[in-house]
């Protein structure tokens, strides 16, 4: 089996190398798209990984919380700040920061509420029970968005500046992509600090490791789990804002498909593992961008979902612990 995997990876790199030689500048431009996709996926994937780490529950509703985050952001940008294309930098910055906080807070609280209603009463039940309620919650959230925004796409004008940050011999890096990274990285660093350096983070890691032992050590397990859902929801809210700003349109079912991709990213990196989720998200982001953008022998966007799910299936079957090995949040 390692031989097969090695062969597969070698083929993958050969394919990438040929594409690189055929058009290096284009290759880099596509890579930047991949990086940006990966940043958005990372925000969502971390939410899956946090919740899985602490409850061993695949929170199906997470992608839809992310989608609602995008809807909150869209509402803030369109109705509250009424941003237009080419807004001044100052008003844009204020609007983005305020929207970010609103979306994060709203999604965090929503996620806490979901945990309270749909998962907490089932903590002693068979493991599949909360998974089924999670699917139910996912559909409910989709219909909330359907009732709120209607079945069509909600479009957000491209408020981010689209000029180039730098442009070296045909390699373009645009401001909007930089802004996505600029929003994402501080949020990720904040999360890492929170989990690794604070008392609350310690409680989270302890609960993830052994819930009963943590309770015996005086940790309020319910509160810690609620806090985890709050953070996961906040990340989803940030992801929603970034998605709304960068991709410019979203619909009630956006969260479902993107959530599955992000979940794949979390599994790829090793579910429960925070740096793993970011790594997995970047890998998936690059794969998607390469698949949809590179010119030589690519299956194309029709097959992106199948490729992502094939990766998911292969990883789960052959290396369920993910790329970064059996590392749970306590080791992160």
């Amino acid at each position: 089996m390692p031989l097969m995997a090695g062969l597969f990876v070698a083929l993958l790199f050969a394919w990438l190398a040929v594409n690189f030689v055929k058009g290096p500048a284009y290759f880099f431009t596509i890579s930047f798209i991949g990086l940006t996709n990966g940043a958005v996926y990372a925000l969502v994937a971390l939410g899956y990984t946090l919740v899985y780490g602490i409850l061993e529950l695949i929170n199906f509703a997470h992608g839809d919380v992310f989608m609602l985050g995008g809807m909150f952001s869209a509402t803030m940008i369109l109705s509250v700040f009424n941003l237009k294309q080419h807004a001044s930098t100052g008003s844009l910055a204020v609007a983005i920061v305020v929207s970010l906080f609103v979306a994060m807070a709203a999604c965090g609280l929503l996620n806490v509420a979901i945990e309270r209603v749909a998962y907490r009463p089932l903590r002693g039940a068979p493991r599949l029970a909360p998974l089924i309620t999670a699917i139910g919650m996912s559909f409910i959230l989709q219909d909330v968005a359907l009732a709120w925004k209607g079945p069509g796409y909600t479009a957000i004008p491209s408020v981010l500046p689209t000029g180039n940050v730098f442009s070296i011999s045909g390699v373009h890096y645009t401001w909007e992509k930089l802004i996505v990274v600029v929003i994402t990285v501080p949020v990720l660093l904040l999360l890492l600090w929170l989990v690794q350096r604070t008392r609350q983070g310690k409680a989270m890691r302890a609960t993830a490791q052994d819930r009963d032992a943590a309770a015996m050590m005086g940790i309020d397990v319910n509160r810690t789990i609620s806090f985890t859902f709050l953070i996961a929801g906040g990340l989803a809210g940030a992801g929603g804002l970034v998605y709304a700003l960068y991709f410019g349109q979203l619909r009630y079912d956006t969260g479902f498909s993107l959530g599955l991709i992000a979940f794949t990213a979390a599994v790829l990196g090793g579910i429960g593992n925070l740096p793993g989720a970011v790594l997995g998200a970047l890998v998936i982001g690059f794969i998607q961008a390469f698949n949809e953008g590179l010119p030589w022998h690519t299956p194309g966007s029709d097959w992106t979902q199948s490729i992502v799910f094939s990766i998911l299936i292969l990883i789960l079957v052959f290396r369920p612990e993910g790329l970064l090995g059996e590392q749970t949040p306590e080791g992160a």
């Binding site: 493991r127 599949l128 309620t133 699917i135 599955l260 029709d302 199948s306 799910f309």
Partner: protein
């Protein structure tokens, strides 16, 4: 949560009845038969009153009430003739007879409150087909306790099998075997639908085994995700399969779907001797009846297999795995083989149902096979009661009815009473599109059932016990040998 609520409601009810002079002890002191009659009469009376005041009355409502009373009140179960317990067959046989005769009295059914008229024949066909699919999923979810979120893949596989072997899709070939109603100029594979049903079942079961072999080692929720992945990949192949890998080979005709697919029929010879219809599609308005009765036969077959397999050695092994995988393995149950059988059996019935439905619809489109359908079928199994054949059939019929007619009827009732210009009083001022929120409603059903009655409406007693004792099925994925 559910139990506490139920207890408080029943306590309140007894307090109210006690105030009227009927205490619980006095009620329990009455003969058993009297209690059954009173309870049944009360429910039927409430139903009749609702029809009188909120539905459209027809005299047939009285006949329905009488039939229900006759079926429910006597303890048929305990009837035995010369030591043979024939009692347990009476109610199912009667229900089967009533359902079979449904097309003949459909026209004289009363209109029910809120839900409106009784389901049409095409809806009944859908209900039967989805009963079969739900029973198929029940092998996996209900018996073996494996969560399968990609059951739609089997439905799709079955439908496309019918598309490949009973239509003009592969016009480079010209193969005919027992097909009815195929024009002389048509090329492609045209096999008899009965053969295609069997082929679809077998092919789908093989796919099920192929999917299952590498994945069934995984833990419960990982397995759910992998099946979901397959459930998403299959329709994508169907959608993009008109030019597979750039070779120009048209496997699935892409978004256009495969249409028309041949209808079933028995051919002229059987028609001449047994008077079974030669070709369903030429029956005109009676076609739906023939499709319905055929679907009923398929459902009966599925029920037979379900109940026989459940009590077999294999079925007991499934239940053992569901309850405790590690213990089952320790007792010598071969985990992989047993799970793979559950998967293959479930896939088989999904495939047959999918092929039959494709033949009924005359088409197979990739847009029929979304993740939603997997959840729809899962919802049927969970609502009705995992592991219980009657519960699953009830769930399938009820949800498919809601999907096809019920939600639209409820929506028009709600809008008519509370919507813009409503006859009672206006609550909302825009027409509420209830069927649009179908999956939100199904999601709510999933959440509410899981929270308050995880064993489903008509549970199997064993499954109910598992949920209330809180079995922790956390099998290790490498426990499989």
């Amino acid at each position: 949560v559910g139990r506490r609520m139920r207890e408080s409601v029943s306590a309140a009810l007894w307090a109210a009845l006690g105030a009227l002079g009927l205490s619980k002890s006095r009620w329990l002191g009455l003969p058993r038969m009297t209690r059954r009659v009173v309870k049944a009469a009360l429910w039927v009376g409430i139903g009749l009153l609702l029809i009188v005041f909120f539905g459209v009355w027809k005299t047939s409502a009285l006949a329905i009430a009488a039939v229900i009373l006759v079926l429910v009140v006597p303890a048929w179960n305990r009837l035995s003739v010369r030591g043979r317990r024939i009692g347990k067959w009476i109610v199912p046989t009667a229900v089967l007879g009533i359902v079979t005769a449904y097309p003949f009295y459909l026209g004289s059914m009363p209109q029910f409150p809120i839900f409106g008229p009784a389901p049409q024949m095409s809806t009944m066909v859908g209900m039967a087909v989805f009963s079969m699919m739900a029973l198929g999923l029940n092998f996996v979810v209900g018996y073996a306790g494996l969560l399968d979120l990609g059951y739609v893949a089997f439905y799709a596989m079955g439908s496309y099998m019918a598309g490949w072997f009973a239509s003009s899709q592969f016009s480079q070939h010209d193969v005919r075997f027992g097909a009815v109603g195929v024009g002389p100029g048509l090329r492609g594979f045209h096999l008899s639908i009965w053969l295609v049903l069997l082929m679809a079942g077998i092919a789908t079961a093989v796919i099920g085994v192929l999917i299952g072999l590498p994945t069934l080692r995984l833990r419960g929720d990982y397995l759910a995700i992998v099946t979901l992945g397959f459930g998403e990949i299959m329709p994508q192949i169907a959608r993009n399969g008109d030019n597979l890998f750039g070779t120009g080979f048209n496997l699935t005709n892409g978004t256009g779907g495969i249409t028309p697919i041949d209808g079933p029929g028995f051919g002229n010879w059987v028609h001449h001797y047994l008077h079974l219809p030669a070709n369903y599609l030429t029956l005109g308005t009676n076609a739906d009846r023939a499709f319905f009765w055929t679907a009923l036969v398929l459902v009966l077959l599925t029920i037979f297999c379900s109940s026989r397999l459940r009590d077999s050695r294999l079925g007991r092994a499934w239940i053992a795995i569901r309850e405790d995988e590690v213990a089952a393995a320790a007792m010598g149950v071969p985990l992989m083989r047993t799970k793979t059988w559950a998967y293959a059996t479930g896939a088989f019935f999904g495939g047959v149902a999918g092929a039959y439905y494709a033949s009924y619809n005359g088409a197979a489109f990739p847009d029929q096979f979304f993740f939603n359908i997997s959840v729809f079928i899962l919802c049927m199994v969970i609502l009705g009661g995992m592991g219980n054949i009657w519960g699953v059939i009830f769930g399938a019929c009820f949800l498919e009815y809601l999907d096809r007619e019920g939600l639209a009827n409820i929506g028009s009732w709600l809008n008519g009473h509370f919507g813009p210009g409503g006859s009672d009083f206006q609550i909302w001022n825009k027409v509420l599109d209830v069927p649009l929120y179908e999956f939100g409603i199904f999601g709510t059903i999933l959440v509410v059932v899981m929270l308050f009655r995880p064993e489903g409406l008509i549970p199997s007693s064993r499954r109910a016990a598992e949920f209330h004792e809180g079995v922790h099925d956390e099998p290790l994925y490498d426990a499989a040998a």
